[in-house]
């Protein structure tokens, strides 16, 4: 197994807060990203409307799962939150700004 550098000394409370932050990011930030991705795909997929909604919705779980994995692999909790909120927000913004696109038949 590769040698790993010793962890820098981090106060226990800060460490716990970091973990708690990541758990929240995985649960809520991840869900937000999944929500945004679903809304975006509902516009972006090349099918009929009902098929777009179902396909995008079925994929939401994969997005949420990937987001959770990313959160715990990210270098810091702040980074994780930032990525999820920005990416989720950007994806959600598109169908919100162009409602006709997402709800076209």
């Amino acid at each position: 197994m590769a040698r790993v550098a010793a962890a820098p000394a981090v106060p226990r409370r800060r460490q716990r807060a970091g973990v708690a932050s990541r758990v929240c990011a995985a649960l809520f930030g991840g869900y937000f990203l999944a929500h945004g991705a679903t809304a975006f795909l509902t516009g972006a997929l090349p099918f009929a409307r009902v098929d777009r909604v179902i396909a995008a919705s079925l994929l939401a779980f994969a997005v949420w799962c990937a987001a959770a994995i990313y959160v715990f692999a990210a270098r810091s909790a702040w980074r994780a939150w930032g990525t999820l909120l920005l990416l989720g927000g950007a994806l959600l913004a598109v169908p919100m700004l162009f409602p006709g696109w997402a709800s076209r038949p």
């Binding site: 009902v50 777009r52 909604v53 079925l58 939401a60 779980f61 994995i69």
Partner: protein, 509 residues
């Protein structure tokens, strides 16, 4: 957080697994038993053993019972008697959520003693018998399982080299980790499919971004386009008469091109009432969700659902893969065995957690986080199988004429689990909790066919084998096989007097 991806994924796998572990074990046991939910339903209604359901299903007697029981129900529905489950089961649901159920003879329409049946395990599996909140808890557990699976794959560096590795004689943590690894990796496609399809079935309850963006949140419009289901508004006038459902079955089968499996009457006390029929899900992987609708007063045909679009078919395919109603009993047996692998994966994973921290667990008292984990382990993993067998015992022991008989069986299940959990947790402080529970479960399973022999006339093993009712016999035989398995587990733990963790501390681990 940790210094490498490996460490952070190991942390994630450990904690996602631990937090969801006991829930997932219960969900997996329920789901594994639910592979044969209909067969268990049938086994638990000995009054109908030896009879055959009619070729063409009959529902009028069932709806007559429903009318008497709950004339102002929101809906009545009934399932036809089939080869897997002979009884006609009928339910009536009120707007306030109360549901009344009964089981009828499929030929005569007479009431038969009811049971919580295999359906109990099915509902336990998808909502822990806690309604909508329970369904959300199960969904969250499913997501944690997905995360644990992915993290587990990422941290398993020797996944191909150790593919076939299982060293039970190495003892202790090594053996448990090997066991956890092989039951997880070898059945990984199953675990991933089961977890994903399981949460996907309830996608409409968990995911809202699509309907929001595509339909502006109009769920009704979405359902209309997705499934093409029929609905009509209540008119406020009473229904003059209910047309015979039995008279419509042949037409329904012709229109659907499939056998009728269930029938329902919606708002039966209103003139707008409709009769609907649907079919089984055993002719393809994907669920066959088609329905035909008739006017409830004069029986004229109103509507048939159009063929589903590709995405809805995909959804139905995922659901069908999960619920395995296709492929005959052979595939249900394969899923049952794969489900047992899943149970073993979860249980062995919890054991790895405890053993890795053996010294800390031993030092910590009963009233600590570690003490709680130990108690929950033995209470859930040791106690739940015993509770399941206890319910089968209750089914044979409770008097047939007992009112609310199904509820009494469920109470037996709950009481058995609580008692077993308390007993196991107490005995584990002396190091023999697991052994005691496994031994008791083994005895209860091995004696089940004997109990069957003593309490029934036509339903015990010699009788069912002689009549060729192999599905019934299989319940008894499987009980014997599982009983031997639990006996072997209890035998391995014989002579233990101290918790392994305490021994580890004493040995200077």
């Amino acid at each position: 957080m940790k210094n490498s991806l490996l460490q952070s994924m190991a942390w994630l796998h450990t904690w996602a697994g631990l937090v969801a572990g006991w829930l997932l074990f219960a969900i997996f046991v329920g789901g594994t038993l639910a592979c044969f939910d209909k067969e268990l339903d049938d086994w638990m209604r000995p009054a109908l053993h030896g009879t055959q359901p009619p070729e063409t299903p009959r529902f009028d007697a069932a709806m007559a019972w429903a009318r008497e029981r709950m004339p102002d129900a929101h809906a009545w529905w009934a399932h036809a008697g089939t080869a897997r489950d002979r009884a006609v089961t009928v339910h009536a649901a009120h707007d306030d959520g109360t549901v009344a159920s009964a089981a009828l003879d499929p030929n005569t329409g007479a009431l038969v003693p009811d049971t919580a049946g295999g359906s109990f395990f099915f509902e336990l599996h998808y909502n822990l018998h806690a309604g909508t909140p329970g369904m959300y808890v199960v969904g969250l557990a499913g997501m944690l399982m997905l995360v644990a699976l992915v993290a587990g794959v990422l941290i398993h560096k020797r996944i191909f080299k150790d593919f076939f590795t299982f060293r039970p004689r190495a003892g202790g943590q090594r053996a448990w980790l090997d066991g956890h690894n092989f039951t997880a990796v070898l059945a990984l496609p199953f675990h991933l499919m089961i977890a994903y399809s399981g949460v996907a079935i309830f996608v409409a309850s968990y995911v809202f971004g699509g309907v929001q963006a595509g339909y502006g949140g109009d769920m009704a419009k979405f359902w209309e386009e997705a499934g093409g289901y029929y609905e009509r508004e209540e008119v406020g006038r009473p229904l003059p008469r209910l047309h015979s459902l039995d008279a419509l079955v042949a037409d329904a089968q012709r229109r659907m091109g499939a056998p009728v499996d269930w029938a329902s009457v919606h708002h039966p006390d209103d003139a707008s009432a409709v009769i609907q029929f649907g079919t089984r899900h055993d002719r393809a992987v994907a669920w066959d969700m088609q329905q035909v609708t008739y006017d409830a007063s004069d029986g004229r045909f109103l509507h048939q659902t159009p063929p589903p679009g590709p995405a809805f078919r995909t959804y139905a395919f995922l659901g069908g893969l999960h619920m395995v109603q296709f492929g005959g009993s052979a595939l249900r047996w394969l899923y049952f065995l794969l489900g047992l692998c899943g149970c073993a994966m979860i249980a062995s994973g919890m054991q790895v957690w405890v053993r890795k921290r053996a010294a800390r667990v031993a030092r910590a008292g009963a009233l600590s986080g570690h003490g709680l984990v130990r108690a929950l382990n033995v209470g859930v993993v040791g106690g739940m199988p015993l509770a399941c067998v206890a319910m089968l015992w209750a089914n044979r022991l409770l008097p047939p004429g007992l009112p609310a008989r199904a509820d009494a069986e469920v109470q037996a299940f709950c009481a058995a689990w609580i008692l077993a959990a308390l007993w196991g947790a107490w005995a584990e402080r002396r190091g023999h909790g697991w052994r005691d529970l496994f031994a008791t479960t083994a005895a209860a399973l091995l004696l089940l066919p004997v109990l069957n022999l003593l309490t029934t006339a036509h339903s015990h093993l010699p009788a069912t084998l002689a009549r060729g009712e192999y599905a019934l016999a299989a319940v008894d035989l499987t009980a014997l096989a599982l009983g031997l398995g639990f006996a072997a587990l209890a035998w391995r733990l014989r002579g233990r007097r101290m918790p392994h963790a305490a021994r580890a501390v004493e040995a200077g681990a």
